[in-house]
């Protein structure tokens, strides 16, 4: 069954039992996410940081101070390293970044000896729950990690995301490689990348999905717009995954859906052996919880 709502996503996550969730240097934001996941029954938090500070934070949050495993780490960077090395040894299932820099976390994840790199590229998968128009989940890749992705990085990000969609129950997710127009022009190099990626898909060099591109956003998600433009194929109007040209495009598209359309989102960094969650301070509780659920379902 294809997961089409966040409630379904949470139900799926619950079926996996409580997963061990390491929080690297917890502060209010990450602790809140961990406690929500704990209360929802999908996670068993392991809090990595300065034990006294962690207990104080738990008290402030009104949580049971003795209910959670605590692993000692003196600094944010050390906490990242500890959390990742626990994941490396399969003692942790999901990593949640707390009060560390994203760069510190990625550094630990990519460490050659103790890291958990699995794919050639780490990418962010952001899911948006469209409760108004198409009543489905829509992925935006990548609005968080890949700043100006090369052709090769885009291909790897597609492969990463398609793996997630298989876990979400989609046999053959529909991938739209976005640009501002659906025609190919050297004035907009992302349209050329999109054309190449679409051919790679036709050639079986990208499998487990259907890819079309370049497509403008409207052609990707609106059958009406696609028909007017004379476009055909299974992806146009029905895309599950939107590959954006760069981080600016992904960020603007994602935040537009959150703030203008009011869609709830969930975010997970993929391409490592375990899901890595990088919550934003501005995330609401549902986004925090669904990000953990997404991390779990995407990997387990």
């Amino acid at each position: 069954m294809e997961i089409r709502t966040f409630d379904q996503l949470l139900e799926e996550a619950k079926k996996r039992g409580r997963k061990k969730l390491a929080v690297a240097f917890p502060e209010e934001v990450s602790l809140h996410a961990a406690l929500l996941a704990y209360q929802a029954g999908i996670a068993a938090p392991i809090l990595v940081g300065v034990p006294d500070k962690i207990r104080e934070l738990l008290r402030q949050a009104g949580a049971d101070v003795d209910a959670f495993q605590i692993e000692e780490a003196g600094s944010p960077a050390e906490a990242c390293a500890v959390a990742v090395s626990l994941a490396h040894d399969d003692k942790v299932d999901v990593i949640l970044k707390g009060g560390a820099q994203t760069a510190q976390m990625l550094h630990a994840v990519l460490d050659k000896d103790n890291g958990i790199r699995a794919s050639k590229v780490l990418s962010e998968c952001s899911l948006y729950e469209d409760t108004r128009v198409r009543h489905s989940l829509l992925a935006v890749v990548d609005g968080g990690i890949l700043i100006a992705p090369t052709l090769e990085e885009k291909v790897e990000a597609i492969r990463n995301t398609v793996n997630v969609y298989h876990k979400l129950g989609y046999e053959n997710p529909k991938v739209a490689v976005l640009a501002a127009v659906e025609t190919v022009t050297d004035k907009m190099p992302c349209t050329q990348d999109a054309a190449i990626i679409a051919r790679m898909s036709e050639r079986g060099q990208i499998t487990g999905c259907v890819v079309d591109g370049p497509l403008a956003l409207d052609n990707a998600i609106s059958e009406r717009a696609a028909t007017i433009k004379g476009l055909s194929g299974s992806v146009v109007g029905n895309a599950d995954i939107l590959i954006v040209p760069d981080i600016e495009g992904g960020n603007l598209l994602g935040k537009s859906m959150s703030y203008f359309a009011g869609f709830t989102s969930a975010h997970v960094t993929i391409g490592a052996r375990k899901p890595v969650l990088v919550p934003s301070r501005a995330d609401d509780g549902r986004t925090k919880l669904m990000s953990v659920a997404l991390g779990i379902v995407a990997y387990y």
């Binding site: 052709l151 659906e182 025609t183 050329q192 054309a195 190449i196 679409a198 051919r199 036709e202 050639r203």
Partner: protein, 300 residues
């Protein structure tokens, strides 16, 4: 009427059209005069041969050419003859240009001259050859194997458009255009990625109503049984009408091998100028020269 499938279909079609006039640049050799004689006798063109009148008369007498069949414009010397012939075309007193004894470089220099040449501003010249090979059931239109030394992607776009124009003149209404590379997979080198981009443009109808495929290797472009063996299920499966070669080196080799080993014949011309320019060489067969003139007349 369906598409032309023999080179002999070209003069047959030209005979039904208003007679075109051909200016022959430096037509002081027997090969050229014999080709002109045949083309005029068979009703393909009228001709004006530019060169030394005395020399033309002498060569004609020695090679049984009837000079009453065409007009002679008495000009002394190679480059002055080329310029005079080009001028006839510029001034619309001729519809086709043909190279005589002039060296190819000088002939091209006359065509490309910025002030007095035949190249529209910002235009591109491209060589188009039309092959009939005994083991290929349709005409094969190949470009560019002779003029554009290091074609950029934009050059290839223009080459493709010019070549499609020639395909249309051969009554191939929806040409199948193969963007050639060494493999069907999209690989990291330029010709492969450019072929993917060009195919993407074709999919988006940016070349009008054609069926485009690429990257594709020459065997999949021309041989259905190879496609079956390779399991290649592209839009072209051994039935290409048009071959856009990756570069002049490979194109030239393909052209010359096909000329010598193909067992068929070829018609060729240069497109992109204000008028078709015939560029046959002494080594070409008599039929080949005749068909090239007919191809020029068809496209004039």
């Amino acid at each position: 009427m369906g598409p032309m499938i023999h080179l002999s279909d070209i003069p047959a079609a030209v005979k039904g059209l208003p007679r075109k006039r051909m200016a022959v640049a430096y037509g002081e050799d027997a090969h050229t005069l014999q080709a002109v004689q045949r083309a005029v006798r068979e009703g393909i063109v009228d001709a004006v041969v530019v060169g030394s009148a005395a020399k033309i008369a002498e060569v004609a007498a020695a090679s049984s050419v009837d000079t009453s069949l065409f007009e002679v414009m008495d000009v002394q010397g190679e480059m002055p003859s080329v310029k005079a012939a080009v001028k006839l075309v510029r001034e619309k007193q001729a519809d086709i240009l043909m190279k005589g004894l002039a060296h190819t470089d000088n002939y091209m220099r006359g065509i490309l001259d910025k002030e007095n040449g035949l190249l529209p501003e910002g235009g591109l010249l491209s060589h188009v050859s039309v092959f009939e090979a005994p083991n290929y059931p349709r005409l094969m239109i190949v470009s560019d194997v002779a003029v554009v030394p290091l074609p950029s992607l934009q050059d290839k776009v223009r080459i493709t458009k010019l070549t499609i124009g020639v395909a249309h003149s051969l009554r191939i209404d929806v040409p199948k255009v193969a963007f050639l590379s060494a493999s069907e997979s999209v690989l990291k080198f330029a010709s492969s990625q450019e072929a993917a981009i060009l195919a993407g443009m074709a999919v988006r109808k940016q070349f009008g109503n054609i069926i485009g495929e690429g990257p594709i290797s020459i065997d999949c472009a021309l041989f259905p049984d190879v496609c079956e063996i390779k399991g290649f299920t592209g839009r072209i499966r051994g039935d290409a009408d048009v071959i856009i070669v990756p570069n002049i080196e490979s194109g030239n080799v393909f052209y010359k091998v096909l000329c010598r080993f193909g067992g068929g014949d070829v018609a060729a011309m240069v497109t992109g100028a204000a008028a078709p320019c015939i560029l046959s060489s002494r080594g070409d067969s008599e039929d080949s020269k005749f068909y090239s003139i007919a191809l020029g007349a068809l496209n004039a």
